[in-house]
Amino acid sequence: MALAEPGRKTKVPVGSVTRKRSRSRRWALLGALPFFAYISIFLLIPTGELIVGAFRTANGAFTLSNISDIFHPPYPQAFEFSLELSALSAVMGGVLGLLVANAVLHHGVPRFIRPAFVSFSGMAANFAGVPLGFAYVATLGTLGVVTTLLEHLGLDIYPSFSLQGLFGCALVYMYFQLPLMILLMIPVIEGLRKEWREAASNLGASSLMFWRYVGLPVITPSLLGLMVLLFGNAFSAYATAETLGVSNLVTIDIANLINGDITINPQDAYALALAMIVIIVVTIVVYALLQRRASRWLR
């Protein structure tokens, strides 16, 4: 490329330069095409199909009847149970996760505790699904190890307790909610600067006072955000509950509608799936807003 000499004016055709740049950008975009094509085929289009399908009858005509079907039994009860279960497991996992994360990070705790809990949490978070269901059948089922142990101690948890009930299922969900919370909460608590704790102590505050006036207010947005995340996580779950034999869960209802065992009603399945998407989108938006709030304190 010849260098222009000072003084000599070189004519640069402006139009062709910008055209070249946009052409190379177009070529570059082609490189990302396979990925976007794949996502469209296997994610976006199916999602679009079901959103559209929620408003169509079996013959393809537009209708709102699928949506209105959701409001008729047994679906409202299913939503109620799913939402309650998700909320309960989110709160249980969230609170205990906070307490455990804080304990793991305490300076006096033996060195091995943190890596032990972090690696086990990574493992436990991946253990959800069918094996987890049977694991709890072995633990708290009617013939479970803990059940029989409690019986020997005089505590008969059945029939009031049930793995398919709200509390029982939430307890099972804890197995993957708790580790998730621990893993995500550790960086949040580490974000509480040592100087804040020491300053508070220096000014006369006890540990509890620190948490009340400084610690909790600062981490509350993150804490709530993570609990919302746990909520979404529980709401989407299917395999674990199915294995436990839970019957009135939204995800299980959807599965029953399309697996052809009793009735096949894909239209209602679309409507229920659409409702699930709406609920999950709401949780993600709330989570994002809370995260934004959180970053204000923890800069």
Binding site: F134, A135, T139, E242
Partner: protein, 282 residues
């Protein structure tokens, strides 16, 4: 000042200081113990339960032996492994060049990629199946082949693999490496293969292990599309014979534990592996 040393050693206050330094509040211990119970009691129960319920004269490992003897066990496990490997292969072929390309040439697309990487959370497996089922039923040749599961699992693994690759690429100075390679005469595909990939080894292996764990454990789509993968097999067996289901549960646990151990060990040696790779190329 020298005499202070002897006096120091005799002072009982020394122990007081050491204790005060390392005092852990009771509450913390309680929460840690509670969490440990939540994690370990089910595993203990699984082991205990799977060794129980045997008739006198039978081996305590009766349920495990029954399961191992079942040809369906082997075929479903093998099927799951195949699907998992196929998922990893498709995911890597799809994601690695794409993430590389976006980082290099299309940085403006990063926010879009970030958004897409959380879409699979908005569309959980059960919902995705609802959308895919009618579509797939029409493509019968694909519908009956288990490969379709791999193609779907790629979507579920996407967020994790993307995050791993994105982090891995952000950790290396991509632009400099590519320009150095170009100045030595290498074209982009070659650069990707010979220069970038070795530096991403830790991210790729980590992401792949997570993908395998996800694929091996996935039940929702596999059962609704009626494929006999390992989780589906576990479900069918377990709902008829609880003891065998629990034994299979323990086998799954060992598998996940091994995968996570590999991930952890990799995380320890991963950076040095990448460092070796870089120096290899010098």
């Amino acid at each position: 000042m020298a005499q202070v040393t002897a006096a120091d050693a005799a002072r009982p206050k020394d122990h007081r200081f050491r204790r005060a330094r390392n005092r852990v509040p009771v509450w913390h211990v309680i929460w840690l113990v509670l969490a440990a119970l939540v994690f370990l009691v089910p595993i203990y129960s699984v082991v205990q339960f799977s060794l129980a319920g045997v008739q006198p004269g039978q081996s305590p490992f009766h349920w495990y032996l029954t399961v191992f003897d079942d040809p369906m066990f082997r075929s479903s496990f093998w099927l799951s492994i195949q699907i998992a490997l196929e998922t990893v292969a498709v995911s890597l072929v799809l994601m690695v060049p794409t993430v590389f390309w976006v980082h290099l040439r299309l940085p403006g697309l990063r926010p879009v990629m970030d958004l897409i990487s959380i879409l699979p959370f908005v569309v959980p497996p059960i919902v995705l199946v609802v959308g895919l089922l009618p579509f797939l039923k029409n493509i019968t040749f694909l519908f009956v082949r288990p490969e379709v599961l791999s193609l779907i699992y790629v979507v579920f693994a996407l967020p994790f693999l993307y995050r791993a690759l994105d982090a891995g690429l952000r950790a290396i100075d991509l632009r400099t490496l590519v320009e150095a390679a170009e100045s030595l005469g290498a074209k982009t595909p070659r650069t990707l293969l010979l220069v970038i990939l070795p530096n991403l080894r830790a991210a790729i292996i980590g992401g792949s292990l997570l993908t395998i764990a996800i694929s091996m454990g996935e039940y929702t789509v596999a059962s609704l599309l009626e494929f006999n993968t390992f989780p589906v097999y576990t479900y069918v067996i377990g709902t008829s014979t609880a003891y065998e289901g629990v034994a299979l549960s323990f086998i799954s646990f060992i598998f996940v534990w091994a995968a996570m151990l590999a991930l952890y060990l990799l995380g320890r040696g991963g950076r040095s592996a990448a460092a070796v790779a870089i120096t290899d190329y010098n």
